[in-house]
Symmetry: C2
Subunit: 379 residues, 2 copies
Amino acid sequence: MVQRVSSRQMPGLRMATTIDASKLTVTKTTTPKQKEANADLLFGRTFTDHMLEIDWDTENGWHDPKIVPYGDFQMSPASSALHYSVQCFEGMKAYKTADGDIRMFRPDCNMERLNNSMERLALPAFDGEAFMDCLKTLVKLDESWIPQEEGYSLYIRPTAIGNSPYLGLTAPNHAKLFAILSPVGPYYPNGFKPVRLLADTKNVRAWPGGVGNAKLGGNYGPTIKPGNDAMKDGFDQVLWLFGEDHQVCEIGAMNVFFIMKTKDGKTEVVTPPLSRGDILPGVTRRSILALAEESGDFVVSERAITMNEVHTAWKEGRLMEAFGAGTAAIISPINLIHYKGNDIEFPTGDDIGPVAKSFWRQLCDIQYGIKEHEWSIKI
Amino acid sequence: MVQRVSSRQMPGLRMATTIDASKLTVTKTTTPKQKEANADLLFGRTFTDHMLEIDWDTENGWHDPKIVPYGDFQMSPASSALHYSVQCFEGMKAYKTADGDIRMFRPDCNMERLNNSMERLALPAFDGEAFMDCLKTLVKLDESWIPQEEGYSLYIRPTAIGNSPYLGLTAPNHAKLFAILSPVGPYYPNGFKPVRLLADTKNVRAWPGGVGNAKLGGNYGPTIKPGNDAMKDGFDQVLWLFGEDHQVCEIGAMNVFFIMKTKDGKTEVVTPPLSRGDILPGVTRRSILALAEESGDFVVSERAITMNEVHTAWKEGRLMEAFGAGTAAIISPINLIHYKGNDIEFPTGDDIGPVAKSFWRQLCDIQYGIKEHEWSIKI
């Protein structure tokens, strides 16, 4: 059991002091690490030489930002980050273009979402532009870590934690905003490898009134075991469902899209809606929706879709493609959904479907600066 | 977005190596802390001189347990405890009896629940008895920290975290089981102070198919903001509801009980059932249920109870008492529930009700060794 401490802790929580990027200090490492060959990179295993840290407390607000050599934190064993999951994060990428520029993709969306996640955890508000200024300095400092081959990038993990050195279920009066960088390879180095999904009728990822629409650590840990169980049964990921009518939610840690022929022969792009509050508002998700709208080629629907509807569309030959969408994979094609003992197999088989591939190509072209677009910013 | 790493990480995850309490090493502090006066103790603010740590990794299983001076951890900024909320905990207490003995209350229940929580997070299994042996050594070492006044005790916080130093949503291959100790005062130093609850029709704590029945950090962080919002409106805690019919779940971080007259004049003890999977299986909860059964005085019901039923029973004069139950407060009487603009006020007013008080007295007598009982063990 846990106990709230007095409400006297509350005032001043979201004080308006802001991050001052002009006060950023940089302490360079004296022992730069050896870089691995691109081919040896595994997601999230290798980190660059430096990281960004910005502390906060109720008395002083945001401290001066600092870039320091990548290394362990000193952390109280009573920290609210370790006991009450006062933690949230973002996933972003920096890309090295053919011209040698460094680009980032819609970082304002990540800053907005991180602020929303932090608010949901009673963590302080922060100035996204100031944080981005510090982050850009970090990325430029570790620029030599950005792999240059096509499909490679620098994964950026901004994270916020409550860091009060005491127990008690109350808004933290110490917090830390930090970012670490990890060079990563293409999700599918040898061509697209579509995933086989288990539609999970037992475990539920999120629900209305819960926190599935915020990028909180607490949404992720509980997905590891169901994911492992699915892998033991020969599947790659879990397809999360919700409600007695088994509405489709997300796959693994990605948003999900279906491409279907409507009964009157149009092509519909369907993804579950944000309105229920149980879907993560993905940056890749909203970008695909915008590209789909803009093309004029599709009926674009953010709407509830049940497994029954998916199954019926499949039986009627109207189910064309499905894919996951997220920062890590960009687009992850699906070739099978196992639901209540039945396999729903997609006609795209072992390849990516043409609609998914078109979105993937457009996103990559924007991210790598091949196509100039307001979503991609040079840093 | 996050990305699963290869399933090659999976094998060996729950290897059967066990904690070897005989290998426990003790490193005593050379700088013992000054103890505070009992009257100055605030929950979870003061920690004793030592803590227990047991590391685990996939290659070596459980390392030798160690008691070390209380102090910060060195923690990777990529730790799965900080990003994916791979963390769970327990709350226990050690009591100093009038005879000078140290007692603990049903520690086997906590060990069982911690193992369940860890399994849900793909953390390794551990031997509860061996961990308890180490914990007893720690409590005895810091015995002088157990406050001796009635109502005082030593709060024990066993915690397990995944501690892999990399990103990626996979079962951790490094973990840490640790325990810290905090001397605490009585929850109500000046007599019982009943709490005013806001029945929250917006935020939902847990869901069938979710993890509300495990003591995971991720269940707690998201409750801070709704709790603060309720406090701003003049309430002490949130009463969590579930479903369109607003079934009662828990209050704050405690289980909830209602004492009601049935229509045929019996006295019913009601608490929501574990069967839906969204209620924490509290040790105080199960102890109260057992005491209630044993007394023969009550109809004892683990069953769904809706806010409508509570409201109707109140209007009909059949609602006698309600209280929260948990390790920290033992019993926390409720004097008001605000639901959809209406106040349901309990006839017990500013005091604890007679049924709640009887359970409280019985539990205290057992915990402090005043009444000999198998639940209370001398260490």
